[in-house]
Symmetry: C2
Subunit: 507 residues, 2 copies
């Protein structure tokens, strides 16, 4: 498929406007509009609507390996988040939801097989569908401390989801202590949750914090919405922007907008008597005798109780707003949540009819009627897989390649290549013999001292290393060392080829 | 290397301004300027100036296979001249001209080997260096009637060059007939060479035609230059724009500019008394007793003789301006020129120091002094090779793939696959057996009649076809037909695997 795509297709799917500044927009010499494809749903749907006519031709699945471009605001971590990267992307087309689900499962299993074969420790997790859209999706994450994503796992059971997606449940109110009286307290110059807690000598778990964001209707009298969370919880922006009334993508109100609409500074905002609609996170709603801003600069309430003080709240709704945290009950009811860091290397989607409906991609059904096609899509970040493999497999000396993606199987290192005809002849023979057995050999014929050669090959991370030296040849021995071995071993020359082939086949 | 390249590098080489509208220019979200790489001299030179420090690291040759984009004003002929295409490009770096020439010869031989192995009828020809630049270059052309380029070959000897480049030699004046008197003749409403020749009853070989182009200094009093050719010859724009004083790229003067500067319409322009510098093609200069425009609307001269009438010509220069034609003497002195059509599939260049000088790419030499690197570059149009192979190898039924680039070696076609268990079992066994021998098989398991399957596979162009039918199996035979065979043949089942493997290895 082309990397440069016509704007017309993106206008048909309405993503030309929705995709935002990550879409690199281009004008050609005739001033026609194009973009550098960050993904290819529009292009493949256009091809299919032109070429596929009958239900008999479905299901079908197309793939390519191609360069994509996403104009990241902050490209970073080398190829981990580069603007230009290589992706394997596939798109499947179906007459029914069941057929899509069947192919989706095949792709799920195939991706699992691929990442297993790549030797990576990974997890498939439920995921948000983001700007691609659709009904259901899974991400494949390589687990690594340096990962940009947080993954929620259940301690028991199989639940695993991106923290962006993982839901939290309503919590029972803790009614152990009797209701305190509602009290307004002067909190001069105490703005952040941390400052207020220290000043009032309470924990963040006893505070309701209020964030002000824009509504999805800026034309309204009050274009703002309040989001209330327990003081120690973090807002989950992906959940928030999907809620009715909230602007998508999520946008925080500016300080001046808050002061103008709500009459006080952000540091003293609270849910009671607030002049805008309020969405309260389940955990915040479980609070009793808590503190919050009093909507008056320099004042907070203490001893707030939702039920008693409810009349002071405008249009409250109880919703799921926060990021799940370690120790939360698992959404599937099995055990509690643990969080790990992950690097997203694959993502599969049940798209449904989002693109086929917009682009009017239909086939003639068995009943003779036109029907809209059902779609799935499936991507692997090829470039990022390489970076993720390194993040998961390294030591102080350098890379430790999983054997399936090592650029070479074996480093062949001579000692005194230039001085010893015997070393040279043996190396050249071994180089040929190993290659004839289908093994990939990096023969380092640079005129450098052995220590430097060893260090370079540990840095490069070739899984197996053999050293040919005059001293070894006197004993008819070759030195072998695996990348992760602590000691080298001597292998008789007559056995070295079989020895290496067994090592590499076993992996 | 990246497909999206920073403008800064192209500004350093000065190609940001020189490359023209084929360079797709792009602004990112931060309004920084980039282009979609049409070629990668700047990027690789930037990498090398950062990474290569010493003459000891040279020569070195880097290559990639990547998508390029050239914003062609008229993309056409499918992938033959698409704006987006796949290219194999290599760049070599040297300390001396001799080292470059050595690598250039290796690449020349390698390219020849590649195109031979692809089974293509091709010629390597001397070529213009165009917007890539440098000292010397060769193009590799697949010969085909539909080719966009014209190639000049010598009938004897080895000379071959793109017509754009092939030089023509000065011709002796033919002085057989005595000089006629110079005569001004009214030629009302006769503008084109064809009209004037018909009106005067002479051949185009007896006329000097005058073209008016812009000079390279538009600030001059007279910013135009005249190019004079024999009436039957065509201007070679590539030669013309390299001449001193001529704008590069070549630009024709408009009718109004001509009338304003020269005082008459284009149809009556001629070299005598013309008020701008004049470049005369060697062949035009050999004319005697010829006709030309009289620089007065509706009049031409006849009986013109250069030497006698030279005083009437302003700043004449004798130059090589025309396209070589069939029958011209070969530039290498061996025989005469023949012209064939070619499709350019490869191009190699001795770049010299064009890019390394501009980007200050140097290494420390053996003498301890910094020296500018010498470069070569080498490209194969991967996408176009496929199209060229088809243009050269087809018949009424469809494509005839050269075996080295056929998508599949063998089409395996069952008769009544759905009805005969025996046909099905045999096909599946053969599919496995052939693949185990390393052969690529297209097993057509569609439920369609045999005639349609045969036609589809001839269209696709698979080099070998086998047919499995119940009738054949009764006699323990498989039907075989090569794509270009007129008759199918029966092969005993026991011999079919070896038979096919021999066929395919032989090719």
């Amino acid at each position: 498929m082309p990397s440069i795509q016509p704007a017309e297709l993106w206008q048909e799917s309405e993503r030309w406007n929705q995709y935002g500044p990550e879409l690199l927009r281009i004008q050609d010499r005739h001033d026609r509009e194009f973009c550098y494809g960050p993904t290819h749903e529009e292009v493949i749907t256009d091809l299919v609507r032109r070429e596929i006519r009958s239900y008999k031709q479905l299901p079908i699945n197309f793939y390519q390996i191609q360069t994509k471009f996403r104009d990241e605001i902050r490209p970073r971590f080398g190829v981990m988040r580069a603007r230009e990267f290589s992706m394997k992307d596939a798109y499947s087309f179906h007459t029914t939801k069941e057929s899509l689900e069947e192919t989706y499962q095949v792709m799920y299993d195939t991706y699992s097989n691929i990442f297993n074969r790549l030797g990576l420790e990974f997890r498939a997790v439920e995921a948000d569908t983001g700007s691609i859209g659709g009904n259901a999706s899974h991400e494949f994450h390589v687990l690594a401390e340096s990962g940009e994503d947080a993954i929620a796992f259940s301690s028991h059971g199989s639940y695993a989801a991106n923290v962006e997606l993982a839901p939290t449940s309503p919590t029972e109110q803790c009614n152990e202590s009797p209701a305190q009286a509602l009290e307004k307290i002067a909190t001069p110059n105490q703005h952040s949750i941390e400052e207020v807690c220290k000043f009032l000598n309470i924990s963040a778990q006893q505070v309701a914090k209020t964030l002000i964001v824009k509504s999805d209707n800026p034309e309204e009298d009050n274009p703002l919405i309040a989001l209330v969370l327990r003081g120690d919880h973090e807002l989950n922006a992906v959940k928030a922007q999907k809620l009715e009334g909230v602007a998508n993508p999520l946008e925080f109100a500016s300080e001046s907008e808050i002061e103008k609409s709500l009459g006080c500074k952000i540091g003293s905002i609270g849910p009671l008597q607030l002049k805008c609609p309020i969405l309260i996170d389940h955990a915040a709603l479980a609070l009793t005798n808590f503190a919050c801003g009093a909507n008056q600069d320099g004042f907070h309430y203490q001893g707030v109780n939702w039920k008693r003080d409810a009349s002071k709240i405008k249009e409250p709704r109880s919703v799921d707003l926060r990021k799940i945290v370690e120790g939360d009950p698992s959404p599937d009811g099995n055990g509690t949540i643990q969080i790990k860091r992950g690097i997203e290397v694959g993502h599969i989607f049940q798209l449904g009819d989002k693109y086929s409906q917009a682009l009017k991609a239909s086939v003639l059904g068995a009943d003779g009627k036109e029907q809209i096609i059902t779609m799935g899509c499936y991507g692997i970040g090829v470039t990022r897989v390489v970076a993720a493999a390194i993040e998961q497999n390294f030591d102080e000396q350098g890379i430790i390649w999983p054997s399936s993606i090592a650029p070479f199987d074996i480093s062949l290192i001579p000692i005194n290549l230039k001085k010893s005809d015997q070393v040279k002849a043996t190396c050249e023979q071994m180089y040929t013999d190993l290659q004839n057995r289908g093994l990939e050999v990096l023969f380092d014929d640079r005129d450098q001292r052995a220590g430097l050669l060893f260090a370079d090959h540990e840095l490069i991370g070739t899984p197996h290393r053999i050293v040919v030296s005059e001293r070894g040849l006197e004993n008819s021995e070759i030195e072998y060392k695996g990348r992760q071995d602590t000691e080298a071993q001597k292998i008789p020359m007559t056995k070295i080829l079989d020895f290496l082939q067994n090592k590499i086949t076993r992996n």
